[in-house]
Structure formats: C-alpha cells, structure tokens
C-alpha cells in the first residue's frame, strides 16, 4: 500500500493512477470542457498468485481502472508498474510483449467472441497474432480440454455454445499465451446461477495450477468475496477502502462499504432483517461533491454532526486520504465505522427527512 515499500513478489502496482475524460460541451474548440473524473488517485499493489477484487457500482471507475492496467486506455497521470517495470507509457514492440503477459476476460461472452470464427480459431488467435512458433492445433486442443470443452467443440461456432461454454472459450483464449496476470471484468455476471459456480471453480483451479494473478472487477460483492484475497471498494473514482477480503466484509470500516455489505444479501438461508438503505444516488463524476465524495449520502457523517441534513465540515471540505487502519486495512474516511454505530437508523432518518 502506498506507505509500505513494495514487496519483491508484488506483480502489479498502481501509483496515483488518474483518468479524466474530457466530454464535449459547446463548440469543439471552446475552452470550457467538462471533465469526467473517472478514476482519481488510485494507489494499490497486487501480490503474485493472489486475487484482487475491485467492487463498485456504475460510475465507480472499476472498469476504467482495469482498462488502464491492460493499456487499452491511457492514464491521465500516475503510473502502472508491472513486474517492476513502468508500463504507463510504453508502446510498439514493448507493449506487444506486455500483452502476452497480461490478458483480459470480458463480461459478455458472446459479444467478445467473433461469431464468424470457430472456437478453435478464436483460441488460436493470440498465438497467431504473437507469431508463436510450434503446433497451434495441439496447443488449442490442450487449452480447450483444460477449460472443460471437448475436442468436437473446436470446429463449432460461438452461437452453438451455451453462455457458460462461451465464457470457457474466452478463458481458454486468455490462457493461450501463458499470461501472468489476467483481468476478469464481471466474469460471471451474464451467466445463469448454476453455471456461475462452474466458472468460479475453474478460475480457482487455474490460478493454483499456473500461479496466476487475477484482478477481478464486479458489482457483486458475493462473487468478489468468494474469489478474492484482497478487496478494494471504489466509489466515484476513488478507492474508499481496501484490505483482506474476510476482514473487510465482516467489519467494513468505510460507511459506503458498510452500506454495500448490508445491501448484498447474505446466504439466503439466513435472512437479514434490515439493511442500510442509502438515500439519493451516486453523483455525477463530472461534478463530484467537494470533500469526501460520499458525504451527501453518508449516514455516519450524520451521526457525527447530529443533523440529518448536513455532514460535518471536515467531510464537506476535505478529501480523506486512504490511510492505514488496523490489521493492514486502508480506509479513506474521517470517521470510520465503529461497532456501536447504528447506520441503519441514521440512513433511515436521512431518507425519511430529505433535506
């Protein structure tokens, strides 16, 4: 994390990574352009062979972060280091070489597979693009078998497969070049419930067998909790909390993480009686709120101010930095959640008395 020196087995490090997208308003050359603050000052490290889960809702910046890591989009500022090398600005042959080591699996398995190519051609594509010598068909057969597809599937087209099988093809393609890091963007969101578990188990087996590092992006905290060693919670472009998966979910310290955990249904066998229901909506990343971006919706801020209409001045004016808390956790909050905080009632009072 930002204060601790990088460890030797750290494979990925993001330092103050920021992405601003200009959006057109008015004339093309007009000086006044709006800026979408998609990702703001993200700093994190991922240890080799582990999984970092990034969870957040629409507009939180999780997908933009993933795309910067794969260099599909350029960061506005900050650096990305992969295996000790700064990859933020490399291009040409070096970028090509990097792409062999970092692969991505997309959410929508049908949208990311070329409908006019067979499964075998799709899986062989990275081998062709990177001029890998040797017998591709042999390698394709091995990969297909490894992800649980049979040899007769090689000559079939994407539309002949079920959603789960298509995602297996996407995973086989990502494995073709023997990458070290795989970015998984909502890998099971489009799949049926009974199929999700097969894919999650497959990812788990592959990671152990090949010592892969995963960065998993999802809006589903259940999936993230299941697959991750470390979790980063993002809200409006920033990491608000980061730490070991179990600790973060069991005892969230940022009020937003607490609301997200409470809104994620736990095991259906254990019905929870009440949730923290946040009022309002995620603000626009074009005009993020001053200070802490979560302050307009934060129930904890209301407990501190004692006024359900307003957050304390600290929260309204100053952006909280991501700072170390107990047991290796990092949290960006002036008043982290404590055990006896009643956020359910505080959130309810806010929505019952909109200001």
């Amino acid at each position: 994390m930002s204060q601790t020196p990088p460890t030797t087995d750290e494979i990925l490090r993001l330092d103050h990574l920021t992405k601003h997208f200009p959006v057109g308003r008015g004339l093309l050359f007009s000086r006044q352009r709006d800026i979408v603050h998609a990702v703001e000052d993200v700093t994190l490290g991922v240890t080799k062979g582990t999984t970092l889960g990034i969870v957040g809702e629409s507009g939180s910046g999780k997908t933009t972060t993933a795309r910067m890591i794969t260099r599909l989009i350029e960061p506005t500022s900050g650096t990305i280091a992969f295996d000790g090398l700064d990859i933020s600005n490399i291009d040409g042959a070096r970028l090509r070489a990097l792409r062999r080591r970092i692969q991505i699996v997309f959410q929508d398995p049908s949208g990311s597979l070329n409908p006019r190519r067979t499964a075998g051609q799709i899986v062989a594509q990275p081998l062709r693009v990177h001029d890998i010598p040797g017998d591709h068909s042999q390698r394709v057969a091995e990969l297909m078998a490894r992800v649980g597809l049979s040899p007769e599937h090689i000559t079939r087209y994407p539309h002949e497969f079920s959603g789960g099988q298509r995602q297996r093809i996407g995973i086989a393609r990502a494995l073709a070049l023997d990458p070290e890091l795989i970015i998984l963007d909502e890998p099971v969101s489009a799949l049926d419930v009974s199929v999700q578990a097969h894919i999650l188990n497959l990812l788990d087996d592959l990671q152990r067998e090949r010592h892969l590092t995963y960065v998993v992006i999802s809006h589903d905290l259940g999936v993230i909790r299941h697959i991750s060693d470390q979790i980063a919670v993002m809200y409006l472009g920033r990491i608000v909390e980061m730490g070991a998966a179990s600790g973060l979910v069991d005892h969230p310290m940022h009020p937003y993480s607490a609301a997200l955990v409470s809104a994620t249904p736990s095991h259906p066998g254990r019905r929870q009686s009440q949730r923290i229901v946040l009022g309002g909506e995620i603000p626009s990343p074009i005009t993020p709120p001053s200070g802490c971006a979560f302050h307009p919706r934060c129930p904890k801020a209301r407990l501190i101010s004692g006024d359900h209409h307003a957050a304390p001045e600290t929260c309204r004016l100053h952006t909280p930095p991501l700072t170390p808390a107990s047991d290796g956790r990092m949290v960006a909050c002036w008043y982290p959640v404590e055990a006896d905080d009643n956020l359910i009632d505080a959130a309810h009072a806010m929505t019952a008395n909109p200001g």
């Binding site: 629409s58 049926d192 419930v193 009974s194 578990a197 259940g222 809104a263 736990s266 066998g269 254990r270």
Partner: protein, 338 residues
C-alpha cells in the same frame, strides 16, 4: 376460507416451433394472498416469466396454447376477451419489468406517461390525471415530483426510472403487482432501495406482489412464499423459510450451495453438474434427473408430482427424503463456513 387474491390452477403454456412443441410451463399452480409477496425463482428457460405473461394475456395472440385457470379474486382471467383484459392490466394488476428504459416512452415526459394511464382507465380530466401522476411519483419516493414529472426518461438515473415504472404500476391502485426482474439492471445499493419500496407498498397498501427473479438472494430478501421452477415445472413450493432454511428438492439444494455469498470465503463452490435441458427434448421422468446427484433408478422413467412435506411445503422428487443430498444450505444457519 376467503378467496385468494390470485390463484393459478394447472397452468400450461405450449409453443409450436419448427423444431417441435415447447412446453414452457407445465401444470403450474400457486396462490398469492393480499399483502404477501410470492417469489418465483428459476434460471433462463425455466418458464418463470412466461407464466405471468400468459396470466396477463401478454403473449402474442395465437402464439401459445394456454390451459388452466388464472383466478383473480375468483374470476378466471383466461376466459376474458382480449379487450376486457385491457381493463384488468394496469388497473387491477400493475406490471413492472426489468429494463426501465425500454418500458418508458423516450419522447414523452414521465408525468404525461403516468397521467395517460389515469386518463385511459379512469377517464379523468387532464388536470386531475396530472395531479394523480405527481402524487404517484411522490409515493414512490421521488424528490421534487412536480419537477420530475416534467422531465424525460433520459434525464433520470436508472433507479429513478425504475421508480417511475413503479409509480405507473401503482397509480391506479391495483390489487396485485407483477414484477419481473425489477432490480436486475440496477446497482446493489439502488436495488436495496427498490426492494424496500416494493416491500413498503405491500405492507402499506396490502397489495399482493409476484416477484420473478433469477436471483435467490433477491427473492430471499423480500418473499413470503417461494416457487422454484425448473424446465417449466414447479419443483418446490413453500414459505420463504421452508425454501431457504430447509430446502428439500435436490435442485434447490444445489442452487443454494452453488451461489457465492458474502458469508463464505474462498474455496470450492458445489456446483450443479451439467446444464439445463432443452425444453424441446425434455428427459423422460424427472427433468432434473440427468443433473441430480441423488438420482435413483425410477427418476429416469417416472415423473414426480408435487407431494406435501409439511402443510406449507411441497416438492416434486421421487428420492426418499433421507437419501437426498445434505448440502451446506440444508445445514441450519450459523453452523459454520464451508
């Protein structure tokens, strides 16, 4: 005993396709009481949506063969002529669908869209209809309903749009709301807001709610009774605590043990082997048999019928209860992590 709000008796829906007859819903029966939520859970192709499209006569005319009875306050809706059904939809049964953007007219102000329903059904004046539209927006928790009523759908967020859809569904004060995947397109914290709202409407107005979802977690957080569907058939039906704390059908048990949840850490999930069957080519006997770990010989030849396990809990399974799989989900809550 009083007449239930909605009772479906022996509903079957068949489609003729070039590849053969598809039985999308097979002999489904269920009851929705006033002030209660029935959760209908199943995967793609289980027939959960078709059941209620058929109940509302929203399937294209002539497309499907529908059998059985849909009784709303004891009156069979399937014998109503299409024109008479218009008076039921919207007025007595409100509908909420998954994608709020495609359910709204993009070029019409949201207030006008709600007011149009009032004018069509209740023949109210323009001003009166507008006032009711604004009141409906207020009752679903939309701040500044007067201003919002003058906005177009694209000016609203996903959560706001879904609130507008709910306002449309309740503006005529229906007795029943059918919500098909109402929160699937929404973010987690927005989903919590919408589920809370639907729950509140149920309690405050005594409306009956049918909530159709693929998500066990969504269903478990709001349903009073639950139907589990597989390949067009009901495999288990009971109260929410029957289904989620003591599931008896191997499919329900399998579903519950295969979902990742925030209570469980890393480690292998116990997935259901295989994938759902094609509805054109259903296996003889129990449709779930080919994927069932508890399967016995008769499962592949004989079709199970719904059998009572307790007065509130039925399931369709031929395996003796003692021989069905013990899964993490069937272990009482709080006995540990898997």
């Amino acid at each position: 005993m009083s007449t239930p709000l909605l009772e479906i008796r022996g509903l079957s829906v068949r489609f003729r396709t070039p590849d053969g007859v598809v039985c999308a819903v097979d002999q489904l029966s269920c009851v929705v009481e006033r002030g209660q939520t029935l959760g209908v859970v199943g995967e793609s192709g289980s027939g959960k949506s078709v059941t209620f499209l058929a109940a509302l006569q929203l399937l294209p005319p002539g497309a499907a063969e529908i059998e059985g009875q849909i009784l709303l306050n004891g009156e069979n809706l399937l014998t109503r002529a299409p024109a008479q059904m218009q008076a039921v939809r919207g007025a007595r049964i409100g509908m909420i669908f998954q994608d709020p953007m495609s359910a709204l007219h993009p070029l019409m102000r949201v207030g006008d869209q709600i007011a149009e329903i009032v004018r069509t059904h209740a023949g109210a004046s323009r001003a009166k209809a507008h006032a009711r539209a604004v009141a409906a927006l207020r009752s679903v928790g939309i701040p500044n309903p007067d201003t919002r009523a003058r906005q177009y759908p694209h000016e609203l967020s996903g959560g706001m749009r879904q609130r507008v859809i709910i306002a449309m569904a309740i503006v005529l004060e229906p007795e029943l709301i059918i919500a098909d995947e109402p929160t699937t397109a929404l973010d987690t914290t927005v989903e919590a807001q919408i589920l809370e709202l639907i729950d509140e409407l149920k309690v405050r107005r005594g409306i009956g709610v049918v909530l159709v979802s693929h998500s066990l977690a969504t269903i478990s957080s709001v349903a009073d009774t639950v139907i589990v569907m597989y390949a067009g058939r009901v495999v288990e039906y009971g109260t929410a605590s029957d289904i989620f704390s003591d599931p008896t059908h191997p499919y329900t048990q399998g579903l519950l043990s295969s979902i990742p949840t925030i209570d469980h850490g890393r480690g292998h999930l116990v997935p259901i082997p295989g994938s759902p069957p094609s509805l054109i080519d259903l296996p003889a006997g129990c449709s779930f048999a080919p994927r069932c770990v508890a399967r016995i010989e008769m499962c592949t030849t004989e079709r199970p019928t719904l059998t009572a396990r307790t007065p509130t809990h039925v399931d369709a399974c031929l395996v003796p209860p003692s021989a069905r799989r013990i899964t993490p989900a069937s272990v009482p809550a709080g006995t540990g992590d898997q």
